[in-house]
């Protein structure tokens, strides 16, 4: 009965977060503790009951530090997922698998990050290049924005996607952030003119195609379906989960793959839908990883919301807005709520299925959450 073990066997029962800002006074470890305690309080579970942890390899607060600071019990499962924002959904997936298989009972996933006030990696020429950088960095392809812009240009060329399509993505996220008091871009509307006249970061990507570097931390709590019934909040079930690292993938600079425009989303999606009781047409709301606007049309194709090359056109006629064909990033996403390596997308997915989002999709019962496209990725299907 392959694939039936995880389906709805576990649920997210608590979410927590700190404030999001360009500059927070507290350090990452303190922010992590605050987010984790908030999530446990939301669930109504004592820290001493936690026996499983999952985070990102890029997370600086390690399990030992967190466990002793907030008073976890004995841990029997801990895992770290690689590839930056590609790991977000996999943290929940690992906890779900650990709990469904009996390795643990109460799991916490978290991400704490201070990139809003931290140093920029490109401010220091003395930094040692990772070896894959020998094929890109000497030529001035330095930043993730440059790497994704290269794919974006090719995507626009092959399929006729336009800057207006990218603007549609940026606008949908900003509109939702304008409804969300926790968002960095709350009460800061975006117009087409602002977008089209903004400065370039890496052509064809402009300022508003890029996510916000943010200080902040988030966490969520995962327990078994049975345990979830006794928690304070309505459970949000982990219906399906997948990671995706395609054959011959090369990371963010996937230019050497035979088909660089079918990224890790395609791999994750095949597994995700294979083990789900519903299809893309049944998804009420989606939280799609948006470090850059172009990742959304690429992901819409990868996760099967439209055909190949149709991701740009999909964004037309308000499709991504509330009331549209597929409302996305209803908290504002990485582009306009906060960029905390995509963890805010998980918590917003939970809020939608609890019916408590600041931009609630009426009656939302199913939600796709995705991690970073362009790197080895992960995704979750959540249902109420």
């Amino acid at each position: 009965m392959a694939g039936t073990g995880l389906k709805d066997a576990t649920a997210i029962v608590g979410i927590g977060q700190t404030a999001f800002a360009k500059r927070l006074a507290e350090d990452e470890r303190t922010l992590a503790c605050r987010a984790v305690l908030a999530a446990l309080d939301d669930a109504g579970i004592a820290p001493g009951e936690v026996d499983a942890l999952a985070s990102y390899t890029m997370e600086e607060t390690d399990e030992v530090e967190l466990a002793k600071a907030v008073g976890f019990g004995d841990l029997t499962f801990f895992s770290k997922v690689g590839y930056g924002g590609g790991g977000s959904c996999a943290t929940v997936a690992h906890l779900a698998a650990a709990i469904a298989s009996g390795q643990a009972t109460v799991g916490v996933a978290w991400r704490s990050r201070k990139r809003g006030s931290g140093a920029r990696p490109w401010s220091n020429t003395a930094v040692q290049l990772p070896t894959p950088g020998q094929w890109t960095r000497p030529f001035g392809l330095l930043r993730p924005a440059d790497e994704i812009a290269m794919l974006t240009r090719r995507y626009m060329h092959e399929y006729g996607a336009t800057r207006d399509h990218l603007f549609n993505v940026a606008l949908a996220c900003r509109n939702r952030a304008n409804q969300n008091p926790a968002a960095v871009m709350y009460e800061r509307p975006l117009t087409r003119e602002m977008y089209m006249t903004s400065r370039w970061i890496s052509e064809p990507l402009c300022l508003f195609d890029n996510c916000l570097e943010t200080d902040g931390a988030l966490a969520c709590v995962v327990v078994s379906r049975e345990r979830a019934r006794d928690c304070r909040r309505t459970p949000v079930y982990v219906h399906s989960a997948a990671q995706g690292l395609p054959a011959q993938h090369h990371g963010m600079v996937n230019y050497w793959n035979d088909d660089p425009l079918t990224g890790p989303a395609w791999t994750a999606a095949r597994h995700l839908w294979k083990h789900a009781d519903f299809t893309p047409e049944d998804v009420d709301v989606a939280q799609i990883y948006d470090a850059f606007t172009a990742l959304i049309p690429l992901s819409l194709e990868g996760y099967g919301f439209c055909g190949r090359g149709e991701g740009g056109a999909f964004t037309e006629q308000g499709a991504l807005e509330i009331g549209g064909r597929l409302p996305v990033n209803t908290g504002g996403g990485g582009l306009s709520e906060a960029y905390v390596h995509g963890f805010n997308l998980i918590n917003e997915g939970v809020r939608q299925l609890r019916g408590s989002s600041t931009a609630q999709v009426p009656g939302a019962a199913t939600c796709l959450v995705t991690a970073g496209e362009g790197v080895p990725t992960s995704a979750l299907l959540l249902r109420s």
Partner: protein, 135 residues
């Protein structure tokens, strides 16, 4: 400027480039070319490899124009183009580089508006670094 920090697999590429030669790694058993270099052939799993000379002719597959904030040496030359070039005889081998006005010219020496997807380019070398000029 950032100099390439090479690894065992990549070093021959840079050694040939220092001699003004463009070569790519290929399997010595099945003959499949591969990039970036790696220890083992993903097609036949052979560990035997060779370095195959290529014509140095290619076409622009995609390009970007980075603007500051950038590392200081690059910021001084911005905006400049960065291209991905697909090799004429091995179109699935794609190399990141820059199209410049002539060998040795700075990164921003060519008007970015002259770079187009599909533009034909030819490799040149400057201080061991491959560069590209419009054919």
């Amino acid at each position: 400027m950032l100099n390439p920090v090479t690894d065992t697999d990549g070093a021959p590429f840079w050694e040939y480039a220092a001699q003004g030669e463009l070569r790519v790694q290929a399997c010595a058993d099945c003959g499949e070319a591969r990039f970036p270099p790696r220890p083992c052939c993903p097609h036949c799993q052979s560990f035997a490899s060779e370095w195959r000379p290529v014509s140095g002719r290619g076409r622009v597959w995609s390009y970007v124009v980075p603007h500051p904030p950038l590392l200081p040496d690059y910021a001084e030359q911005a905006p400049y183009n960065v291209v991905v070039v697909e090799l004429e005889e091995l179109p699935r081998i794609r190399l990141v580089g820059n199209v410049v006005s002539r060998a040795g010219a700075p990164l921003g020496s060519l008007d970015p508006r002259r770079v187009r997807i599909g533009a034909r380019v030819q490799v040149v070398f400057c201080d061991g670094l491959p560069q590209w000029v419009l054919s």
